[in-house]
């Protein structure tokens, strides 16, 4: 879903950049509360894993692919504030080193694929957590739904920017169904991958899944390392 340069006009790109900077500044401040001695190295791992997973495009319909965005996954594993920072790190590296996503479009891409997916994914995950019984299966199921919904919402965020300052004049009545339709399908892939990864981490180290802390009946605690 990486937006290249030239899809959006300059004022819109600048405005998106300002939203991204403000959002990330808040995330960086709040991430501190999530990052204790143990969570810090996990943040690097989550960024690296999301980068790797984003290289794995899977086919959705004929001639079209999708890939994990990873915002919901990152938020569930390391917490929403840290998770948004992790995905932003991925987008920054992709934009600067790999020419994946434009430089002037970096703000739009951070808003769509980091801030929006984390916000939607994490709120939905927590909402479902309140409704479902406390069990590992609930964590996995909530992860699937949260991740699956985050993708089409992120694609709508792009359409919102396009509506404000697209450089072309394609009617929204054409853009919305086309963008939304394919991203609903990609969202199913996002949900499956997210549920698989969250489920795997839950199996080996449930205490490392931030979003499971209030959902699991009794998380086995690792003795704290006092340094």
């Amino acid at each position: 879903m990486h937006v290249p340069d030239g899809f959006l006009d300059a004022p819109t790109s600048v405005a998106a950049g300002a939203i991204a900077v403000a959002g990330l500044a808040l995330c960086l401040r709040r991430a501190r509360a999530e990052l204790d001695e143990r969570a810090a190295p996990l943040a690097g791992l989550v960024a690296a894993f999301v980068f790797a997973a984003q290289m794995l495009n899977f086919p959705v319909v004929a001639g079209t692919s999708g890939h994990l965005l990873g915002g919901a996954l990152a938020a569930i594993v390391v917490g929403p504030w840290t998770g948004a920072v992790c995905v932003a790190v991925v987008l920054l590296v992709q934009s600067l080193l790999f020419a994946d996503g434009g430089l002037t479009a970096l703000g739009v891409n951070i808003v769509d694929m980091s801030l929006v997916t984390v916000l939607v994914g994490y709120l939905l995950f927590r909402g479902l957590a309140l409704l479902l019984p406390r069990s590992p299966a609930s964590v996995v199921g909530a992860s699937f739904v949260a991740a699956a919904v985050s993708v089409p919402v992120a694609s709508l965020a792009f359409v919102g920017f396009y509506a404000v300052g697209g450089t072309t004049d394609v009617p929204l009545g054409t853009v919305v169904p086309a963008v939304l339709g394919v991203h609903v399908l990609i969202g199913i892939g996002e949900g499956l991958i997210t549920a698989l990864v969250v489920g795997s981490v839950l199996t080996v180290r449930p205490d490392l899944v931030h979003g499971a802390h209030s959902l699991l009946p009794a998380v086995r605690l690792e003795p704290a390392a006092v340094t």
Binding site: D5, E34, P41, A43, L45, M55, L97
Partner: protein, 117 residues
């Protein structure tokens, strides 16, 4: 960080290296959802190449390596190491140190059990 957590991070990193360095070769080459819609509907009429199009890793292909599999694999490995380094560095700079309490007054080494119920 305890030994078990170190092991988890190391194994996780190896999985990421394997995915980006090897498995990525088998990923779909088709345009992604947005690229596809953009080219089908003409949203990309004013698209411009990225300012870093000349980067040696542009498009996840490493310059100077003829073999497709290797050119993509090297780019993937560089990306995984780069994102891990930046992510870990940032997190270490931000984290709460030793005895510094968090917002709820709990010490840093105590496990977060989520919001109070």
């Amino acid at each position: 960080m305890t030994r078990r957590t170190t092991a988890f991070v190391v194994v996780g990193l190896l999985v990421a290296l394997l995915l980006a360095g090897v498995v990525s070769f088998y990923a779909s080459d088709s345009p992604d959802g947005l690229e596809r819609v953009a080219s089908d509907r003409g949203l990309d009429a004013a698209e411009q190449p990225s300012g870093v199009e000349e980067s040696p890793l542009s498009g996840y292909r490493t310059d100077g390596i003829g073999d497709d599999r290797l050119a993509g694999g090297v780019a993937g490995v560089v990306g995984v190491i780069g994102t891990f380094a930046v992510g870990t560095g940032l997190a270490l700079a931000l984290r709460r140190r030793g005895g510094e309490p968090d917002r709820r007054g709990r010490p840093a080494h105590q496990v977060d059990t989520g919001p109070p119920r």
